[in-house]
Amino acid sequence: MLSLLLDLLHDAFFSAIPALGFAILFNVPQRYLGYCALAGALGHSFRTLLMHFNMPIEWATFAAAALVGVITIQFAKRHLAPPLMYAVAAIIPMVPGTYAFNTVIALIQLTAQSQVSPELSALVIVNGLKTVFILGALAVGLALPSLLYYRNRPII
């Protein structure tokens, strides 16, 4: 139990850094940078927690993105700023970068060979599908509060 907690804290710390870094890259005003980092840390560690209980990565990402969506709408209401400003920086740690990278590398290796090898094709398909579905889960999860709750009224 304690080790799980430590794992989550470790995870939260190391996902807060990229969230902060990309918030700076997107020129988020200085006074909101901390909130981006906080939302990023909460989202990624929530996903790690769900995956610890053997949830598949796509569904865990979906739930974590929905959590980030709800949190960032609260931030947005408090500061009168657009919610997507916090949310995009916050979900950057969850973007399936390695899956996308592996897909592309396997594709290039496929091109370099003269015949189609089943192992490489399997790598392309598995990693490519993961990439697409995780990205979809992120974006739809993020939009979930405004699709379900804020249907015909503005958030702020």
């Binding site: 020129n27 657009p82 993020l142």
Partner: protein, 252 residues
């Protein structure tokens, strides 16, 4: 409301919509904010048609329509501008600002960016912590930091000189990947492949991708598709850079 007055207000509204789109707001936000701003300034209704690089806006008062078109040139993502415009709209709605104040505030909006000496190291540290999250060892993280800092410096250098974004991404990916391959040449790390994957993550077009899907989900299909195409092209450009670097380095 007199005709020249309507002209004036329509110009203010279309200017704010243009700024919002140029600095990376999603279509739903643009539509909502310009309609609210227009109504707060006294227009009866504001209708927008947004496409990937232009914007058509019609304002209606007392049965009189004014339609105007603006070209949109993407300026990269700047949330300070979007934030400022959101605040402007809310304060106008509350009656704090009138048309004159809105005009003055709009003229004063300048896209401020963080200085390179902050952005470069923080992106390096971000990619290093990606490397750590993916299970790289300490030296792999240090290498990632080095590679992505150099890559980010290259990216800012080319962006400052207004190179095409695709060319910029390809060159950045190439340089980053070449530096990250140090791990294969010298046996200082056991996980050189994690360095390769983590160091190019700063090139993932996260904002265009999320904006694309969020636009498509909320009904702005054409803008969403064009943003998606843009993001895919950027990814493809970085892939070309990575491929050239890896084939030169002989890692296959």
């Amino acid at each position: 409301m007199y005709a020249d007055n309507q002209n004036d207000i329509t110009r203010l509204v279309v200017r704010s919509a243009q700024l919002l789109l140029a600095y990376g707001a999603d279509s739903d936000l643009v539509e909502e904010l310009s309609q609210r701003l227009g109504k707060a300034l006294g227009l009866a209704s504001v209708e927008l048609s947004i496409s990937s690089n232009a914007l058509v806006l019609t304002s209606l008062v007392h049965g009189r329509c004014i339609t105007t078109t603006r070209r949109i040139r993407a300026h990269g993502i700047n949330m300070m501008v979007v934030c400022e415009l959101q605040r402007l709209c809310l304060l106008t709605e509350k009656g704090v600002y009138g048309a004159n104040e809105v005009r003055r505030r709009l003229a004063r909006i300048k896209p401020k960016t963080y200085p390179a000496k902050i952005v470069i190291p923080i992106i390096g540290i971000s990619c290093a912590s990606f490397c750590h999250l993916f299970g790289g060892d300490l030296m792999a993280c240090v290498l990632t930091f080095l590679a992505s800092s150099i890559g980010m410096a290259v990216r800012l250098y080319f962006a400052k000189r207004h190179y095409n974004l695709l060319v910029n991404f390809a060159i950045t990916a190439f340089v980053t990947n070449v530096v990250a391959q140090i791990g294969y040449i010298f046996p200082i790390t056991d996980t050189p492949q994690v360095t390769l994957a983590a160091s190019v993550l700063m090139l993932v077009p996260g904002f265009p991708l999320i904006n694309a899907i969020s636009d498509m989900v909320k009904g702005h299909i054409n803008v969403g598709i064009s943003r998606w195409g843009n993001a895919s092209l950027l990814t493809l450009a970085s892939v070309i850079g990575i491929t050239i670097a890896m084939q030169l380095g002989g890692i296959f």
